[in-house]
């Protein structure tokens, strides 16, 4: 058992022209842990996730994976990062080659990162399809012939193939129907229990974050305004923005006046 964080982020800043999308974000993720990132639209969640996955370079700040910095866009640096950390998007459709079968797409990262023969990969793909609950027939299909939920399973299978230590999920269940969302969440729960993979789970849905994470950070305007155990944040929010977020969740007897009061407490000018 290691007690070193598998992912350590510090003082992350990202500017797009005049816009500071991420402003001094830092957190640590232990092996097998699950961290939520919540916050309103434009608060910098996706930008943070993309930096972790190496899709954007930070303006400043560091990302350590397994204790080593993963900066640089050299082929070697990118491969090392991808080997340790994989990302899942809201709709993975765009990340699949439309002309290639799902099974071939799932095999692709293994071909890039791992030694082994085509036969080894075929065996591993079969195992992965089974693990995420997809049939062999679904594996032989093209991406467009799968439902949204099936595509999300396929994306998870592809990400798991090279046994990364961290999975970054950006609104990965947001577009799914409740019944399908529950299937994917249950799948993710099981995978973490069985493989010890760690999650960074980006979502605007606090109920989902409560289900899938142990700790969470709340972002607003690029900054982390609150952090802690997810349950603690939900039960005793400390920052006025977190309070607004919680009071905004519909519930029988919903007090909409309180939401308005929270808003005024947060932005006295409005």
């Amino acid at each position: 058992m290691t007690s070193e964080p598998v992912l350590a982020v510090s003082s992350l800043v990202k500017r797009f022209g005049d816009v500071t999308a991420v402003d001094g974000v830092g957190f640590e993720l232990m092996p097998g842990a699950s961290l939520g990132i919540v916050g309103e639209s434009g608060s910098g969640k996706t930008t943070t996730a993309r930096i972790l996955a190496g899709l954007d370079a930070p303006t400043s700040g560091t990302v350590l994976l397994d204790g080593e910095p993963v900066t640089g866009r050299s082929r070697r640096a990118r491969l090392r990062r991808a080997r340790l950390l994989q990302m899942i998007f809201q709709d993975p459709y765009g990340s699949f080659d439309p002309r290639q079968s799902i099974a071939a797409s799932i095999a692709e990262p293994m071909r890039l990162h791992l030694p082994g023969t085509a036969a080894d990969r075929r065996a591993r793909v079969a195992e992965l399809l089974d693990q995420v609950g997809l049939s062999e027939r679904a594996g032989a299909s093209l991406p467009r012939d799968l439902s949204g939920g099936q595509r999300q399973r396929a994306a998870i299978a592809r990400a798991l193939g090279i046994r990364p230590r961290v999975l970054v999920l950006d609104e990965a269940v947001a577009a799914l129907d409740v019944s399908i969302q529950a299937q994917i969440l249950t799948l993710l729960d099981g995978l973490r229990r069985d493989t010890g993979i760690a999650y960074v789970f980006v979502s605007h849905d606090l109920a989902v974050v409560r289900h899938i994470t142990d700790t969470a950070v709340v972002m607003r305007h690029g900054r982390i305004v609150e952090r802690g155990d997810t349950e603690r944040i939900l039960r005793e929010p400390r920052h006025p923005y977190t309070r607004l977020l919680l009071d905004s969740i519909p519930v029988p007897g919903w007090d909409l006046d309180r939401v308005a009061r929270d808003r005024r407490a947060l932005d006295p000018s409005s």
Partner: protein, 335 residues
């Protein structure tokens, strides 16, 4: 449904309701190749009432809501009856429908940007409905200003001259709400009006909608896939599955006493921020459209209580507790 029944349903709706949909069926094409979309949909919205229509994607929520404005898919055939404030929608001609949309019923969609012409000023958008009814333009402008103020737009006078792209999604949805209410409709059809918004913005927009609706006595059909939201703001809720209504319940009863196995399954599949942390339970399979659904009860390939008798016929609607439910054994559904 016989012609006689249909007439009676329409007459009753005339007097009391903002919206009366009775036994609505919808199919594209005819004969062997017909693709069924809706079957026997019955929905009532009383004046001033907020009624929810919930279900997963493809269940027929939007088709049902749009039927109130006589908006049907190309080539679709409708049966049953649809009445809005006394107007028989299925029998109405073009002019009558245009008049209906202009005066009696308004619709708000998920994406406010799709509802507003991007090159026109907000002021023109807000006054066109009024001017079309013969309201002088000076008076229409004053009304628009007043509405923008009511929906909480800062600097309403300046807003009249601005274009849609100058507003955030939440602010633009407020403008659309102002537009929808400008003609003083009896019925507001809100199709996932807050789905694209942040939770905090959603709460504000809902507060606004409910407030405006309450003071004006407008009936609202609120379409959403979010059970929590429906239960929180609706007097009554209809649950749809595969083109049919499977349960009708009071908003509060939906959670405490779901009567249909599908409603219960949805609740068990949804994580919650309230109360103790509980396990979620996934529903096997995936939601289906009416055309793909099994015969008899459409939910039977996913239902834990399914048995042979569920395949015999589409379950009739029966009263159970305070709900109406289309299931052969609602007494076995307990939370």
């Amino acid at each position: 449904m016989t012609v006689q029944d249909k007439k009676t349903a329409a007459d009753t709706a005339t007097r009391a309701d903002a919206l009366g949909i009775a036994g609505l069926g919808l199919a594209i094409g005819s004969g062997e190749d017909a693709v069924p979309l809706l079957d026997g949909v019955t929905v009532r919205v009383g004046r001033g009432e907020t009624v929810g229509l919930v279900g997963e994607s493809g269940s027929g929520k939007s088709l049902t809501a749009r039927s109130a404005l006589g908006m049907f898919p190309r080539g679709a055939r409708a049966t049953g009856s649809v009445t809005v404030g006394g107007v028989d929608v299925l029998a109405a001609g073009r002019a009558a429908l245009r008049d209906l949309r202009r005066t009696r019923a308004s619709m708000i969609f998920q994406d406010p940007r799709a509802a507003i012409n991007p090159v026109r000023r907000v002021g023109d958008y807000l006054t066109e409905g009024l001017r079309a009814r013969g309201v002088p333009s000076r008076e229409a402008a004053a009304t628009a200003l007043d509405l923008l103020e009511q929906v909480g737009i800062r600097d309403p006078r300046g807003a009249l001259r601005r274009h849609p792209h100058e507003f955030s999604g939440g602010m633009l949805q407020r403008v659309v709400i102002a537009g929808a209410l400008s003609t003083g409709p009896e019925l507001l059809l809100a199709d996932e009006p807050t789905t694209a918004l942040d939770v905090t913005t959603q709460a504000e927009v809902i507060g606004l909608l409910k407030g405006m609706q309450r003071t004006r006595g407008t009936g609202m059909l609120f379409v959403t896939h979010d059970l929590d939201l429906a239960a929180a703001i609706c007097d009554r809720v209809y649950v749809m599955y595969a083109g049919r209504i499977v349960e009708e319940a009071a908003g509060t009863a939906l959670f405490s006493a779901p009567a249909h196995p599908y409603t219960k399954a949805l609740l068990e599949a949804s994580p919650s921020v309230h109360g103790d942390r509980t396990e979620i339970r996934a529903i096997r399979g995936r939601p289906r459209s009416l055309a793909e659904a099994p015969s008899g009860c459409a939910f039977r390939d996913r239902c834990p209580l399914a048995d042979d008798d569920c395949a015999v016929a589409v379950p009739a609607v029966r009263a159970h507790g305070t709900s109406a439910v289309a299931c052969v054994r609602p007494e076995e559904v307990t939370r």
